[in-house]
Amino acid sequence: MAPKRKAAAKPASAKKAKKPAPKKPASPRGKAKPAAAAAPTQALDFATYADPEEGFVTFEGLEVLADRLGIDASSDTKLLALCWRLGAEKPGALSEEEWDRFASSPHLPTHGKPLTVQTLKAGWASLDPNFLDNAEFRPFFKFCFEFNREGTKRFLERDTALALLPLCIEDRSKHTLNFLEFLETKPEDFKINRDQWCSFLDFSLAVGPAPEFDGWDSEESSWPILIDEYVEFVQEKLKET
């Protein structure tokens, strides 16, 4: 789900979910994919998509599902929202228990309806995170971080974050472009931790855009130091122009 900017992706350990290589342009529909022409009444059952060795639905399985739904797995956040609603606890993996929530979770379009790809596809748009208000969005945003980690690591690689952040936050933040520019100045092995990730959202909601940065108090800032550096970065940049 986290498209890497550079093709040189670093697979962490053996149990790795395959990640799609270069970022595909986001166009959910209209892609001529042969697999999409599968039977519309295909069942949404765990066995079809799960990796038999691992016993989980991994990124591979999700890609298959994405194909059948006719969406781009690397850029459609509704897929992430789906995993969130299913309550995925492990990064990049869905257990059978979690899969079963297709039927039980009221947030999903398959609730109370037949468990088919068709149903899911029909109600796909309802999963759009844009419908969430800020309070509901926060846990989703945190989930985006959690789900895209590698295994038990507590951080995201810089490039992963660079691709994932704009995708997830969409237009809720006026700082996105600047922040991405700022992140690019960091070295390649730079890592973002959970606190920094979540604080970015809180920061975007609390502090106005450059150059005023309304609501920003440099003296008593309790934001993570990364955010402090970001503000300084933008202020420096503006001074030069």
Binding site: N193, E220, S222, I225
Partner: protein, 754 residues
């Protein structure tokens, strides 16, 4: 026997009516009496008669007549006086006025006495002025405020004051009289004194002093100026009791202070013509001037702040310059620092009269420059080291006490006490291990003082070091006793010319056992020590471990010294005091023949001494002064394929030679050259900071960001000042490790995760 008949006493009615004619008659009597009074002929009059006349007049309702009559009389009289006064020339005007005033007073008193009944009855009834007041009013309007008198009089008064200021003598009596007159003439709402005189006087004073001060200051130095204004102020204040009214005093004081002191305060402080700053420089000799300056500024309290700030600036600049100048020479630096402090303390005590605010400012100045540069802390440590090694030789206990007190004074200013501790530990370790300390009592005293400043935790490790030394000595005594009980072993002296060594040899060894936690970290790379040393070490180790089972001993071959008896030839026998490594190197030559060479590589292989250290110790044995070994390569350094042999031609006048180690720049820069915080201290601070954050959060369960920072700072302040940014880093690290989390309602609030 009064029965039924009341006795009634009727008032004596004399003339029940007084007619106009009679009244006039009485009045005429009075008029002529008043005229006599004016002519200073009062003695011919009968007071009783006149009083009675007036009394009767008023009684018979002729008060009007009396009142208007007297009014007219007074006025007429004063008018004629006025004619005289106007005509008098300037130099007599003042005395004339005074004379007239005095006469007027006297006559009016007499007239008033005569007309007292009228004053008491008629006047209040008809709401008119009393006789005396009437006289005053008349005098004022007729004479004093006469256009030909008023201004002239005032000008004269002011001119007099002016001449007195310029050094001439004037008649105080007439001045006092005139001013009293003005005071008395006031009332009914207006103050003649203030309007006609005081206002102008103050203005004049203001102008006069403004001019004079400016002129004087431009031509003279500040101390001279201070002396002048001191005398001026005294003079002005004397003027008040001399002839001015007391109410003028505060106003006069204010003006004088303002014009003389406040207006020129900044000049006085900053001027190059021996202003305050310059005075401070030579405070030893200029204490009087400084004291005068403070006393004067004390009278205009607003200027005192400027003075204190100037003191602060001066001290701070001097301190900064001192650092730039002398920090490279730590001992000299500290001495100069102490001298600087004494100097400023004297200024504060004597010139500033021990004022607390000035003391505070001085402390702030020292705080600021001493904490701007870390080398101050290490310099202080170096200074103490010097004292302990050599400075205290032959000092009495009270002298030691005195010196250490001075040291503690500087210590108090330091903010980063943990840096001091690290350096102190290093120096103390060196002193103790090399037995360089003059007196262990002095060491103990120093630690006691540090303990009372910073609490016992600060000095536990240091005290531990001292205790280690003491215990080691005890252990050695026990060991010696233990050795004595053993069967004697053959002792063979090791010598450099290589004779066969016996298998059962040993050597005398003195061991100092260090508790690893207390001492600064030492490198624990061991080398291969020669057999006799190893044997002695082994003996000691088994002895020690018997006494203290469960402990582990590690030999620190990087430290320590050895005494070798060396025979270079039949005649040249010396005792060499060398390091342990050098002993290892040299004993390699024992096994070989006289001329044999050892290559560098061979030495490395056999002794296993780390390369850098080996180079240093080897080079020290090849220096021109102590050429114990000869090396193949020329020059100061060693080449990798160098080889060495014993220098048979070694000569020295001394029997006992101490071989010093050459300094190698790469190894450890001398502590007082670094001007950034040692890594160990930074690490230490990070741990302390995190531990403090966790402790606080555990107690509070949740805390806001600012409160947390404030509390952490407060708790750590005794040891060092934690920058808010570093505290923030610690918090973030703890967030990442899930000791804390941010509250979801308020990102500024942290919650403790159990």
């Amino acid at each position: 026997m009064a029965s039924g008949r009341k006795v009634v006493i009727k008032p004596f009615r004399a003339h029940c009516q007084m007619d106009k004619e009679q009244a006039q008659q009485m009045w005429r009597v009075l008029v002529s009496a008043v005229a006599e009074i004016y002519n200073k002929n009062a003695s011919v009059l009968s007071f009783e008669e006149l009083y009675r006349n007036a009394y009767n007049l008023v009684l018979h309702k002729h008060g009007d007549l009396l009142y208007t009559g007297i009014q007219e009389t007074v006025r007429t009289r004063l008018r004629s006086v006025m004619e005289d006064v106007i005509r008098s020339p300037d130099d007599q005007l003042l005395s004339q006025v005074c004379v007239q005033w005095k006469e007027h007073q006297v006559t009016m008193v007499m007239v008033r006495d005569i007309l007292m009944y009228m004053d008491r009855t008629y006047v209040p009834q008809s709401k008119k002025m009393t006789v005396y007041d009437l006289g005053l009013w008349a005098f004022r309007e007729t004479i004093v405020r006469h256009e030909l008198v008023r201004e002239r009089l005032r000008k004269l008064l002011l001119a007099n004051i002016r001449s007195e200021r310029l050094g001439q003598l004037i008649d105080h009596n007439s001045m006092r009289c005139a001013l009293n007159m003005l005071t008395e003439l006031g009332g009914d709402g207006s103050s003649i004194y203030e309007e006609d005189f005081e206002l102008f006087f103050l203005e004049d004073t203001c102008r006069f002093y403004r001019c004079e001060s400016r002129l004087f200051l431009s031509e003279h130095s500040c101390p001279d100026y201070l002396r002048k204004i001191e005398s001026r102020i005294t003079e002005e204040m004397k003027r008040v009791p001399n002839y001015l009214h007391a109410s003028t005093r505060p106003k006069l004081k204010h003006i004088v202070e303002h014009e003389l002191i406040s207006a020129h305060a900044s000049t006085l402080i900053g001027s190059k013509k021996i202003g305050f700053s310059t005075l401070l420089k030579e405070s030893e000799y200029k204490m009087d001037d400084l004291r005068r300056m403070y006393a004067l500024f004390l009278q205009a309290p607003a200027t005192l702040d400027m003075l204190r700030t100037a003191l602060y600036e001066h001290a701070r600049t001097a301190g900064r310059l001192l650092i730039i100048d002398q920090i490279k020479e730590p001992i000299g630096f500290v001495r100069s620092l102490l001298a600087l402090r004494t100097k400023y303390k004297k200024v504060v005590y004597i010139a500033f009269q021990r004022e607390t605010l000035a003391q505070k400012k001085l402390k702030e100045a020292f705080d600021s420059f001493l904490n701007a540069d870390i080398r101050c802390a290490s310099s202080l440590v170096a200074y103490i080291d010097e004292l302990m090694r050599t400075g205290f030789k032959g000092s009495t206990e009270s002298e030691v006490e005195h010196e250490l007190d001075k040291v503690i004074v500087i210590f108090r200013y330091l903010q980063d006490k943990d840096i001091f501790e690290v350096f102190y530990k290093q120096y103390l370790a060196k002193r103790l291990l090399n037995r360089r300390s003059t007196s262990s009592e002095a060491e103990r005293q120093m630690l006691a003082k540090l303990k009372s400043e910073c609490g016992y935790q600060y000095t536990t490790k240091l005290e531990g070091m001292l205790t280690d030394i003491r215990f080691s000595r005890n252990t050695m005594e026990k060991y010696a006793a233990h050795q004595d009980r053993l069967p004697p072993t053959s002792e063979v002296r090791s010598n450099a010319s290589g004779s066969e060594s016996d298998t059962k040899e040993s050597c005398d060894m003195e061991v100092t056992v260090l508790t690893s936690g207390y001492w600064p970290p030492q490198s624990i790379v061991s080398c291969a020590i020669p057999s006799h040393a190893a044997a002695a070490a082994g003996d000691f180790q088994s002895f020690y471990l018997e006494q203290h089972s469960g402990r582990k001993l590690t030999w620190l071959t990087g430290s320590g010294t050895a005494e070798l008896k060396a025979s270079f030839s039949a005649t040249a026998k010396h005792e060499l005091n060398v390091s342990t490594y050098q002993m290892c190197i040299l004993s390699q030559f024992n096994k070989l023949n006289c001329r044999a060479e050892l290559s560098l590589q061979e030495i490395i292989d056999v002794t296993k001494i780390p390369h850098i250290e080996l180079k240093r110790h080897l080079v020290s044995l090849c220096t021109p002064k102590h050429r114990i070994l000869q090396k193949k390569s020329k020059g100061k350094g060693l080449s990798n394929d160098d080889s060495f042999q014993v220098n048979e031609l070694f000569l020295s006048k001394l029997k006992r030679i101490r071989v010093p180690l050459v300094a190698m720049r790469e190894i450890t820069p001398h502590p007082h050259q670094t001007d950034h915080i040692p890594a160990a201290v930074q690490e230490d601070r990070r741990h302390l900071c995190e531990a403090t954050v966790v402790r606080i959060m555990k107690a509070r369960k949740q805390a806001k960001h600012n409160d947390l920072i404030a509390e952490v700072t407060r708790q750590l302040n005794q040891r060092f000042y934690p920058q808010p940014q570093s505290i923030k880093k610690c918090i973030e690290s703890l967030l990442e490790r899930e000791y804390l989390e941010r509250s979801s309602q308020d990102p500024r609030m942290y919650i403790y995760l159990a």
